[in-house]
């Protein structure tokens, strides 16, 4: 129905990332990653002679707007493929729309797992691709007492459940667990960190996202904690947040991610160069941006074969596709529609980049339901 014959008409796709509101700090970089890849594909002649044309809306960090705009994209703009979403709440708002109208959402963000929609390709990390190794390493390097801080929505609560079980299963202890509203102000972090100080944890595990991330790390800094002794460990703090909080504030803190700008390799160097040329020398890449970038190339590689945007055809063909991404070779896992990614743990340095302290020997199979792990963990 929407396949092409001999035509140079563009392939229209939808793009949904917040450019305003409290999630813009990270979603803006995902938008940039998406556009960088689209321009790269178009500069090389498009896909089978046809350029990709993005239809872009700004949901303004509001979950309901994601659902509304997904409908607008599919209904008014006639688009069936959408790149977008950071928070799990926004993904869940888009889900019924793409499932009913049979669209395909490409979701470039780590999330809590335990989901499998036939209308989504997941390209961010599932818990088995970041939390498991992060927990082991933190225990080894810093100690057994964990304090959990998160933004109050789906992802942090679910990740903390999984992390909590990991910690306890390895003989550790969760000495505190606190949630702040999603767009918490700076002043809300002081009482929280006083509480942390009293609890004396070895590690602060943070799933705070968006603008509040900056306030957490800055307040930590003001309180005079030492990241060498009690670092903040995170699955969500990337180069983008480190840049926003200040390199000195971020130094010494730990993040698990499939990708850091500081990785070597020629594929990554050319990606970083391309990005800096577009957006400025002082701009860093990050894991969410990288996933947003490589998923467009996965899409392009698939579309080149199918020459059709029909969701059924496109998704079936995307399963199993392998790609040389900036993080290394990745592949869409045909069993679960998630992506097999690399596990890495980095520690922020004075330059606002991450030094790699752990890297998986090969890419790690996505296991969103943690089926290959101990039962107590799978049901954590």
């Amino acid at each position: 129905m929407r396949s092409s014959s001999q035509t140079t008409e563009p392939w229209r796709v939808g793009v949904l990332f917040s450019q305003s509101g409290f999630m813009a700090v990270i979603e803006e970089t995902q938008l940039r990653g998406t556009l960088t890849a689209i321009d790269e594909v178009n500069a090389a002649g498009g896909i089978n002679g046809r350029p990709i044309e993005p239809v872009i809306y700004d949901p303004g960090s509001e979950s309901r707007a994601f659902g509304r705009l997904a409908k607008k994209l599919m209904v008014d703009d006639g688009v069936s493929t959408i790149f977008g979403c950071y928070t799990s709440s926004s993904r869940r708002a888009v889900l019924p729309v793409v499932e009913r109208l049979n669209g395909l959402l490409w979701y470039p963000t780590l999330y809590e797992g335990f989901e499998f929609s036939p209308n989504v390709i997941y390209t961010g990390a599932a818990p088995n691709q970041n939390s498991v190794e992060l927990c082991r390493l933190l225990m080894e390097m810093y100690g057994r007492r964990f304090f959990f801080i998160g933004s109050d929505y789906v992802y942090p609560r679910e990740s903390n459940r999984i992390m909590g079980e990991l910690v306890r299963a390895s003989g550790g202890e969760v000495v505190g667990e606190r949630y702040l509203r999603l767009n918490a102000e700076r002043s809300e972090f002081s009482p929280l960190l006083r509480e942390v100080k009293d609890a004396q944890p070895d590690v602060i595990f943070s799933t705070v996202v968006g603008q509040s991330t900056v306030f957490l790390y800055q307040t930590y800094h003001d309180f005079g904690f030492d990241p060498k002794v009690t670092p903040i460990a995170s699955l969500t703090t990337t180069e983008a947040e480190i840049q926003a909080m200040g390199h000195d504030v971020g130094e010494g803190h730990v993040t698990a991610a499939p990708y850091f700008q500081g990785l070597g390799g020629t594929r990554n160097s050319s990606f970083v160069q391309l990005y800096k040329k577009r957006y400025g020398e002082d701009q860093s890449t990050n894991m969410c941006l990288e996933a947003a970038y490589f998923q467009v190339h996965l899409f392009a590689k698939t579309l080149e074969q199918t020459n059709s945007l029909d969701t059924e055809v496109l998704r079936t063909s995307a399963l199993g596709v392998e790609l040389d991404a900036p993080q290394g070779k990745v592949a869409v896992n045909p069993v679960c529609g998630h992506t097999d990614l690399w596990t890495r743990i980095g520690r922020a340095n004075r330059q606002g980049q991450f030094d790699i302290v752990y890297e998986s020997p090969s890419r790690v199979r996505a296991d969103p339901y943690l089926i290959g792990y101990a039962r107590s963990l799978a049901f954590a």
């Binding site: 659902g67 509304r68 409908k71 599919m74 209904v75 008014d76 006639g78 889900l95 019924p96 729309v97 499932e99 009913r100 109208l101 335990f114 459940r161 909590g164 079980e165 306890r168 299963a169 202890e173 969760v174 000495v175 505190g176 667990e177 039962r375 107590s376 799978a378 049901f379 954590a380």
Partner: protein
């Protein structure tokens, strides 16, 4: 004359209570059901958004004959009315925008109306996420079949969504039960089976689900640290 009666407000409860008593209309013999012993569409509230011409009037009259509660609306409001069991609406160009719910989360069965000789527009119908279509003028049998199937599909979709929600909840509960078992095994130094029996006994004596007991244990464990 058709819109003198105020629309009945959402009566999901009443409809749900009706359903088990009368057999599914779809399962009936293909004769006009209104001659049968029951009126399968009795008290079904239906917003009918179409011009008040002869065909529109016929449709409303037919629905009244079926003992349904049609409510005539014209011109089309910017947002289709909520709170009806079904909405019949002319397939206008911007109908998808006037549908007040997200596709995949419908709140009423939606039937689009088309004049005879209208072009076939599958994309427009899909974008409305309609449950049925009716070509006007419609004969009585078509009205009944379309209404029956549209309501059937709508309610089936709702049951499926409910099942998925339930599955998600069960998955969460299973995770809690596993965690609670681990906690009990550690604290009381008992086997997995004994831990589960303890959970079961607690649930029975408190008359709550095992999941609820498990959640309570997991939560208290988190509070105690």
């Amino acid at each position: 004359m058709h819109d003198r009666n105020q629309p009945s407000p959402a009566r999901r409860g009443a409809i749900a209570a009706d359903a088990p008593r009368s057999p599914s209309p779809a399962a009936r013999a293909p004769q006009p059901a209104r001659t049968g012993p029951a009126f399968p569409f009795a008290d079904v509230s239906i917003a009918v958004v179409c011009e008040r011409d002869a065909h529109g009037d016929d449709l409303v009259r037919e629905l009244q004959r079926l003992r349904a509660k049609p409510h005539h609306v014209w011109p089309p409001p910017p947002q289709l009315p909520l709170g009806f069991d079904a909405v019949f609406c002319v397939l206008i160009d911007d109908l998808p925008r006037r549908v007040p719910w997200l596709p995949g989360e419908p709140e009423s069965a939606l039937v689009v109306l088309l004049p005879r000789h209208a072009p076939f527009r599958p994309d427009l119908m899909r974008d409305c996420a309609a449950h049925g279509a009716l070509v006007l003028p419609a004969d009585p049998l078509s009205v009944q079949c379309t209404l029956a199937l549209a309501r059937d599909h709508f309610r089936y979709e709702k049951r499926l969504r409910g099942r998925i929600d339930k599955l998600d909840e069960n998955l969460r509960n299973m995770r809690s039960v596993e965690r609670a078992k681990t906690i009990i095994m550690h604290r009381n130094s008992v086997s997995e089976d004994e831990a589960y029996q303890l959970l079961r006994r607690q649930a029975m004596s408190r008359r709550v689900s095992i999941g609820a007991v498990a959640n309570a244990i997991v939560d208290s464990q988190e509070l105690l640290g």
